[in-house]
Amino acid sequence: MPINYYITLALCLFAIGVVGVLTRRNAIIVFMCVELMLNSVNLLLVAFSKMHHIAKGAAATAGTDGQLFVFFIMVVAAAEVSVGLAIIVMMYRNVHSININFLNRLKH
């Protein structure tokens, strides 16, 4: 498979995530779209690592760094989701809604 198919797929998923963040007002769905964007970048990193591996003449460890980077992104995303959902629960407890239009108190 040429790399541009994978780049196009990851761009599609990333653009769908951007559209979701910009159009939806539900905080949980916005959060899920951020997760989708993270995953599209992960897919692209793995594809580039496999491309690098074959471009280096299939050397033993060429391209391992990219896959470990994906692993660390997953670790950070798991930590981020736990804190983010706690913040959303806190917001729901205060304003009884998860519409992000209510989050404009900094403006006033």
Partner: protein, 166 residues
């Protein structure tokens, strides 16, 4: 078209279709289900590229743990019937146009690159196996690995502190 290309296109269609379902569905539970299907499709892509460790970690961490957390929060707050009020039609149209403009610009930037015909290794190569990744993780990347455990501890404490009732 051999079997690898066929699987690639099938997984691509599943991933993009369920990603569209996340954005368009009214009910947040359907959005979560769409995201789970997207994660499984991305794991399928990892398996096609012989990145088996990441495929399994993706299913366990994302589709297993994180999505259960999302479903748990949605059902805890009884949001499955919640409709989005204050709908601004113009905001949605402008958001869709902005997203497609970003997509078009990035595709146009891809058109002039030189790497775009480089091949991705499918189904062979053992850098994605647990053996080689684990050796690299516990020798070269051992300090970031330990720091990430501290990150997990602080995230755990942080979510407990934030979620605590006053």
């Amino acid at each position: 078209m051999n079997i690898t290309q066929l699987l690639f296109w099938v997984l691509t269609v599943i991933a993009i279709g369920s990603a569209l379902m996340i954005v368009t569905s009214k009910n947040p539970v359907y959005s979560v289900l769409g995201l789970i299907v997207t994660f499984f499709a991305i794991s399928g892509h990892y398996i096609l590229m012989n990145a088996q460790f990441l495929a399994i970690v993706n299913i366990i961490v994302y589709a297993g743990a994180i999505m259960v957390l999302f479903l748990f929060v949605i059902m805890l707050m009884n949001l499955s019937k919640a409709t989005e009020t204050l709908k601004n039609k113009w905001l949605q149209i402008v958001g869709a146009i902005a997203g497609s403009c970003l997509f078009l610009v990035l595709i146009a930037a891809l058109k002039n690159t030189e790497v775009k015909q480089n091949l991705v290794e499918m189904g062979t190569g053992d850098i994605g196996l647990v053996k080689s990744l684990g050796r690299e993780l516990f020798t070269t990347f051992v300090i970031p690995f330990e720091i990430s455990s501290v990150l997990f501890l602080s995230a755990m404490i942080g979510s407990v502190v934030i979620g605590k009732k006053e």
